[in-house]
């Protein structure tokens, strides 16, 4: 026991500088890498959904090729959104207890309602209405286990008459309109959880939910670009350049707004220079130097802006191959940058003492519940689910109904 105790003490103390409260003197912060992944994944869900709604609600025809892929991306990430929390808390066998005793007095418990609403009432229903006609067709022509899956998903409704299909489209549009504020609610909620912590100057800020939503939109569009390009590469198809350029355009403008609001946030913090500002400067200069200045600002914002910005003006002069590479690398850099941003928020907020006079440390380990290996596993899981979903619902071998998602009124009239 002596050695055990001495080791802990020796290991812990060099990680502190200045004045640290005794209850902050732990080996690791309470929220580790898994809690970094949680807002990252929910952000990707919300962003990918906003991407899909650009087609459905805002009628951006050029984005049709990625409409279903974005919805499926959003769905597969949503299925994994709660996993980081579940692993972080331990005792996964107790996860249903929170469902059995829901209540409205704790902001943390509200996530159950937000998640259930978004999964069951918005995303699943929109997917179902969009796919219903196809599912009925596929159920007729597909034998075996896959056929059973398609039949099960039709829920026994085989009506394919024009009024029924028109109703599907109409419902899809209504759900998409409802879905936009819901996606904002889903990720704004995550920002709210951090933003409402008054005692922590790094988190407690009215702009936090807005910054979370904007960075979610940016990361979601970047993920759709990544998925679309990887899928076309795997299928040996040619990329629809009109679609890709439009995605790049939306990615650029979303990134401009996101960077502007984040910049505004920092200007405001710097100008107000409240009592926590000096410890925040230590964060920027020392503790989060690489993840903030290099990861979030340079890789996640400046480089993509420099790559995507000129493309908006000189699109026709840049050869397609170069354009594809520029857009793909921007998307990858944004995905890395937003992950760094989540890290800076979650870990950064726990690296300084509540006394504002001392700083703690955090070392990301490889193994263990909060290790990066489990993080990699959890981040690959949505891609595995997406692969299965793409094989089932975006299969090239199956005929598609060919209805155009944004033309909800066309079927009626």
């Amino acid at each position: 026991m002596t050695n055990e105790m001495t080791n802990i003490v020796v290991e812990v103390l060099p990680r502190f500088e200045g004045y640290v409260y005794p209850n902050e003197a732990s080996l690791h912060p309470l929220w580790g890498f898994l809690i970094v992944l949680y807002p990252y994944i929910t952000g990707l869900v919300a962003g990918a959904f906003i991407m899909a709604s650009l087609v459905r609600v805002f009628k951006v025809r050029a984005l049709e090729p990625v409409y279903r892929l974005s919805l499926l991306t959003s769905f597969s990430f949503l299925l994994c959104a709660t996993l980081p929390l579940l692993f972080h808390l331990g005792h996964p066998e107790r996860c249903f207890e929170i469902m059995m005793t829901p209540h409205l007095t704790s902001p943390m418990a509200i996530f159950g309602f937000v998640y259930a609403w978004y999964l069951m009432a918005v995303l699943l229903l929109e997917l179902w209405f969009d796919y219903r006609q196809d599912l009925v067709e596929w159920a007729k022509v597909t034998p075996g286990f896959k056929g059973i899956i398609y039949r099960a998903f039709t829920v026994g409704v085989t009506d394919e008459s024009p009024p029924a299909v028109a109703l599907d489209m109409k419902m899809g549009r209504i759900l998409s309109v409802v879905g936009i504020p819901s996606a904002f609610l889903l990720h704004g909620y995550v920002g709210f959880i951090f933003g409402s912590i008054k005692a922590n100057p790094w988190w407690g800020n009215g702009l936090t939910p807005i910054i979370f939503i904007l960075s979610a939109i940016v990361s979601g569009i970047a993920l759709c670009v990544f998925n679309y390009m990887v899928l076309t590469w795997i299928r040996r198809h040619t990329v629809d350049m009109r679609c890709l350029d439009t995605m790049a355009m939306f990615l650029f403008y979303a990134l401009v707004v996101d960077a502007a609001v984040e910049g505004l946030d920092w200007l405001h913090r710097g100008f107000a220079a409240e009592e926590g500002f000096s410890v925040m400067q230590i964060m920027i200069r020392e503790k989060l130097f690489y993840t903030l200045n290099l990861g979030q600002v340079t890789i996640g914002t400046l480089l993509p802006l420099l790559l995507l910005g000129p493309l908006q003006l000189l699109r026709r002069r840049v050869p397609e191959l170069v354009r594809r590479r520029m857009i793909f690398s921007s998307a990858v850099m944004i995905l890395i940058g937003v992950l760094a941003m989540r890290w800076n928020v979650v870990i950064g907020g726990q690296l300084f003492s509540k006394s504002l006079r001392g700083v703690m440390g955090y070392k990301l380990e490889f193994a263990g519940v909060e290790g990066w290996w489990l993080g990699v596993v959890l981040l690959s899981l949505p891609f595995i689910i997406l692969t299965v979903l793409v094989k089932l619902f975006l299969s090239e071998r199956l005929p598609s109904s060919g209805h155009i998602p944004q033309d909800s009124a066309a079927g009626e009239g």
Binding site: V10, L13, A25, F96, D159
Partner: protein, 150 residues
């Protein structure tokens, strides 16, 4: 007048929703513990269960019954406010039956309080174990009379 008919897919969704909500309510009725919410947002019976656990600490007064000489010595020195069981381990069973020895703790409990920590007051005696001495604390310090040497 044409009678309003719910479209088949909407009807199926309504039925499905009712089935999901219904099975949730049934599951909830079975899975929520009976005493949940009795006093607050937790299981009321948890309090009874906690109360029924046997205490493991005996308390300083119980030690005083047999070891009053040690306690009198201790009362003159810096460690007078400490509980005996903080260093000697839980002793309820030992107090009830002296043949059962208290759970023996080994040396690390000194550094629980005396390892240097910036949040401790300056007057409090603190050491950095790494730079101090690798042997046993009791080789140089007497726990009951900390300001004396053995």
């Amino acid at each position: 007048m044409r009678r309003f008919k719910l479209p088949p897919q909407i009807l199926r969704l309504v039925l499905l929703t009712l089935a999901i909500v219904g099975s949730y309510l049934i599951a909830r009725a079975f899975l929520t513990p009976a005493s949940f919410g009795e006093f607050g947002w937790y299981r009321g019976e948890a309090l009874v269960e906690l109360r029924s656990r046997p205490p493991v600490y005996a308390g300083k007064q119980a030690c005083d019954e047999c070891h009053s000489d040690q306690l009198q010595k201790l009362a003159k020195f810096e460690h007078q406010t400490l509980s005996c069981e903080a260093c000697h381990g839980v002793s309820r069973e030992h107090a009830d039956n002296p043949d059962v020895l208290p759970v023996k703790l080994t040396g690390s409990h000194c550094i629980r309080c005396h390892e240097a920590n910036p949040s401790r007051p300056k007057w409090f005696k603190q050491i950095v174990v790494r730079d101090h001495y690798s042997g046993k604390c009791t080789e140089c310090h007497v726990p009951h009379q900390p300001s004396q040497t053995p």
